[in-house]
Every structure is written in C-alpha cells, then in structure tokens.
C-alpha cells in the first residue's frame, strides 16, 4: 500500500479520515497559547481570530496535487505532489521529512501561495488560497514568514534593511518600523550588527537575520524550507533554539521542511513523511519515528536513527553470524530488554546482539536491536529452527515488533 497511513489513537473514536487532532503527547503545556505570548504577536493573534472559525486548523491541505508541465517538447509533466492531505494546528511545530526531490519545497510554496495546486485545496486559517485573488494572496503572505536554505538575504541592504523590508512592503511607517527592527534584531541577538551587510555575517548569523526578517510582520505562521541544511551542527542547534523560542514565546506556528531527520527530531511536535510526492505517513513525532508503519517511512527514518543495519552491513554480519538474524524494535515499556532475554531463554534460543542503537525521542526510548538467534542444536537443524520460530512467535504475541532480516540473494 502506498497511500497515507493516518494514526487512529484508540482514545479518540470521533476522529476520522485525514483530519488529525492536535494530540501531542508529552508536549502539552509547552506551547501555552496566549499567556506565553508577548505583545509582539497580539496583533496577529487577534487577526487570526477574525473570519476564521477558532477550531479551524492553521494550515490544511486537502487532496493537493501539483503537476509541473513538461519542460521541453520531449519532456514529460512531473507530478511533484500527489494527493497530499495534511493539517497543521495553531501553535505547533510541524515537520515534513523526505528525500531530495520528494516535493518538500513545492509543499511549502503551496502553503503561502507562491505556487498554486493543480488539484485540491489549500486552506490557511480557514481561508481557501486558490479562491483568492493574487492581491489577497499577497496579503496572506504578509502574515506568513518564510526562511530559506540559502538565507536569500538582500545583498544591497544592511541587516536592519533586510528586516525592515517586509515592513516597508506592509506599509508600516518609519518610527514603528525602526522600533520593530530593533526589537527583532534584539530577539535574534544581532542588534550590534544592524548596520553590517549580509556578506559580513557567518552562515548562522545570516539565518538569524532571515528569521528576524520572516518574523518582522508578526506572522502567525513561519515556513522553514531546509533552514539549517547549509549550517554546521553547532550553528544548526542555535538556529533551532531560536525557532523554538519563536514558537514558544511568540506562539508562531512553524512548518519545518528538511531532509535532516535530527532537526525534525529535536523540534517537531508532529511530522509527515513525504516520499515521491505522497504523504506516506503522518502523526506525532514519537509514533512515526518509533514505529513507522510503512516501508517507505521506515526506510527514511531508519537512516536517521541509524539503528538498522544497511544491506551491506547485513551481508558482512552474515559472514560471521550464520544464525537467523532478526531486528526487534525497542518499545517504550518497562524492563523491555529483560522481557526479551527471558523469552529467548525459555525457548532455549541463544541471542546475540550484533547491531542496533537506542536513542531518545521526546523523552521516550526509540531504536532497534538486531539479534543473531541460534536454536538449541545449531542454526540449520529442524529443532533449532523450530525453537527460534517459537521464540519469535512468542515475542510477536506479546506485541513486540520483530522483523526477520531477508536472507542474502543469489
């Protein structure tokens, strides 16, 4: 199945279809919606309340398809997004992961109307974008900040001039503009660089200017397209801290798009996995990462956790480990490994950990362990195989996710 897998928590029987509720386990309270806001967002907060039903999702894509026409006469039209539906709630950090070319940039550009869908609808705070005139869409863009992988700062303007630009576009008068620019540069920690030009800044500083510029009009939504992909790990975490502050202190909804899974892991509340233009999975960060349900998502996420052996590693492991090789997904439950060990023991199966990794996601363990399992009379024997099968069956009956690694081909 290549369609999208939506998670249906048993606790909520009213949920249906693609519409997801904002149910972020372990993160409730961190986004204190209104009390935590500073004066900066009070304007956009009240604006967001007007004209849009309060319950409406901040961003909603309904069966969105985007096809680019063929480039030359010989080319074929390219479907960058294929029947994508997703919902982003007010105040959350929504991550979209996927390989290069999966359609991530196309997705964000649809959200602020820089691109129009070939089919389907895009809603922003209850307003349908394609039904708006270009003029009205420009108004919507002023309430939506955007940051970019290559920062895209104006080289002809100073740092302050870059931050002031969206305010000029929105016709904010000079004194107010200066006040806001100063406040934003203070927020990103670059007040002392106001009169420098972008080329005098480091990559991380440039992105901080990009963030200040994106937040200048006090938008309720911030779109981040590979915002940290050009930065080193240290700078990446600084920029992510800043985004987190924008989210928590200013109440800005963030849609962050990246191929870097550790970025998503450290900041997103909920995620969607994009593969070949389709959302193959979406849900809370923990659910999707700890237990991807589709092959495509498992492939993409497995690379992030680096807890599953690659085909090459597996082939090498087989040289020294003739037994059956299975991978067990680590579960967030007490004494998980003790339970594993006693199951193997009671079936007379020798289990050796030959690969694996356990990490932490939203304060809960994630990862997997790869075992070589050997029965009582060796791997090949019928009794041995029987004992291993029995152990695997017992584990599965207990709700443990066990995958037998495929045998070598040829």
């Amino acid at each position: 199945m290549s369609g999208s897998t939506q998670r249906e928590p048993s606790s909520d029987p009213t949920r249906s279809g693609n519409h997801e509720r904002d149910d972020r386990p372990g993160t409730s309270g961190t986004h204190a919606p209104v009390p935590g806001r500073t004066a900066m967002t009070s304007v956009s907060a009240s604006e967001a309340g007007q004209g849009a039903a309060p319950a409406a999702a901040h961003v909603r894509l309904e069966h969105v398809t985007k096809t680019f026409p063929a480039a030359g006469s010989g080319g074929r039209p390219l479907t960058a997004l294929d029947d994508v539906s997703l919902e982003v709630s007010h105040g959350e950090v929504f991550g979209v992961v996927g390989h290069s070319g999966a359609g991530k940039s196309t997705l964000v550009r649809l959200i602020n109307g820089l691109e129009t869908p070939t089919a389907g609808r895009v809603y922003l705070g209850g307003r349908e974008l394609t039904s708006l005139t270009e003029r009205a869409r420009r108004e919507v863009r002023r309430d939506t900040g955007m940051i970019f992988q290559q920062f895209n700062l104006f080289r002809s303007r100073t740092v302050a001039g870059n931050v002031a630009y969206p305010l000029k576009v929105a016709r904010v008068g000079q004194p107010e503009r200066d006040r806001r620019v100063a406040r934003l540069l203070d927020f990103v920690g670059l007040l002392d660089r106001a009169h420098d030009h972008p080329e005098q800044l480091s990559g991380g500083q440039k992105q901080r200017v990009g963030i200040a510029r994106a937040l200048a009009t006090e938008p309720s939504l911030l779109l981040a397209d590979e915002a940290t992909s050009a930065l080193d790990p240290q700078t990446t975490s600084e920029v992510l801290d800043l985004l987190r502050r924008a989210n928590r202190n200013l109440g800005v909804t963030i849609v962050i798009i990246t191929h870097e899974l550790d970025v998503i892991q450290s900041i997103a509340d909920r995620v969607a996995v994009l593969d070949g233009g389709r959302v193959v999975e979406s849900g809370s960060l923990y659910d999707v990462f700890a237990q991807p349900r589709t092959e495509a998502a498992a492939r993409i996420i497995g690379m992030a956790l680096r807890d599953r052996p690659s085909a090459a590693t597996l082939a090498r492991l087989r040289l020294t480990h003739p037994g059956r090789i299975v991978t067990v997904r680590v579960r967030d439950r007490a004494a998980f490994q003790t339970a594993l060990a006693s199951t193997f023991l009671s079936h007379g199966v020798a289990a050796e950990i030959i690969f694996g990794g356990i990490g932490e996601l939203q304060d809960r363990p994630v990862g997997s362990l790869t075992f070589e399992l050997t029965g009582p009379d060796g791997a090949g024997g019928p009794d041995g195989a029987g004992a291993v099968d029995a152990a695997i069956t017992a584990l599965r009956a207990d709700g443990v996710d066990v995958t037998e690694e495929p045998a070598e081909e040829g």
Partner: protein, 219 residues
Amino acid sequence: MQEFLSNLSVYRDAIGQTFYIVLISMAAGGVLGLVIGLALYATRPGSLLASRPVFIALNVLVNIVRPIPFVIFLTAIQPLILAAIGTTIGTNAVTFALSIAAAFAVSRIVEQSLLTVDPGVIEAARAAGARPTSILVTVLIPEALGPVILGYTFIFVAVVDMSAQAGLFGGGGLGNFAITYGSQRYDWPIVYITVATIIVIVQAGQFIGNWLARRALRR
C-alpha cells in the same frame, strides 16, 4: 598649432556639443533602455510578469535594432528623425537617433544584469507579499546595481564613439571638429588633440563608472 589656437573657441564649443549629445543620449536612452530592459526581464517565461507575446515582441525588436551599425541606423530612421525633430541633420537630429540606439543597447545590458540576481532573493521578496512591479524597483535594481552601473559605463563609451561618428552627419561635437578643422585641412595636430580629448572623456567616464560600481558592490 597656430591654427589650433585660433580655433580654440570652436574646440571648446565642440567639447560642449559632445557633452550635450552624450549626456542627453545617456539620460534619455538610459531611462528608455532601463524600462525596456526591465520589461524584457519581467515578461520572460517564468518571471514576475511572464507574458510570452510581449517578451517575444520585445526580444525580436531588440535583436533587430541593436546590431545595426549606428551610421546605418541614423540613415535608416531619417523619416522618424524628421517627424520628431523637424530636420535630419545637426546636433539634435543626431542626439535623437543616438538616444534610441543607446536605449536598445542599454536594454540588453539591463536585462542581463537583472538575470544575474539570485532567484532566491526574488522568492524572499515574493514571500514577503511584495508586488511584482515593486520587486523590480526595490529589489532587482538595487541587487543588480553593480553590474548595471558597469553596463551603463560600457554604453557611455560606445555613445561617445557613436557621437564622434555622427560628426560625419553634421552633428556637432568633437568628431565633426576633427573632420572639419583637422583631416579636411590636413591639420594633423588638431586631429590628434581631438583624439586625445576623446580618450580623456572616455577614461574619465570609465573611472567614474568603475568607482560607482565598486561602491555599489562594496569591494
């Protein structure tokens, strides 16, 4: 030399006329060329105000006019000059023709300079909700200012050159002076002095252009 000194006031007038022709042509052609260049850039497929018919029409027009040697162009548009200026000879006729020729040359240079601007910057401006025309004026021109200034400097040198050629058509200025008082009278010092004057004007223009471009590029 004696000859030259007696013609000193004529020489001074010739310099004045050259400046008159060059500056008016640069101003009028510069503005017109900027508009055509912006239109070429903006109507290109995929650009801010993409329009295939407009782009193709402008592109063909510029491609036809721009490569025509100025002296031939001047002859070819005589009816137009007559209609606009009332005469086909003299300084104003030459200035008019030169303005049009400069506009077409400038348009290509402006278009090409704008094309060097990082598309990401335009994306950022669009994401901020700016109108396409506002992006052209407040983002693209400032971002491309360095190359645009260098392009105008290049055109300035070409315009000085063409204004001298126009001396053959009774357009005043240094070219005309060199022919009438110099080569036709076999007065070579006058020719050389005129050539040296033109070199000084070109060098000064180039120097100022480079200086302005360096400031725009902050290098």
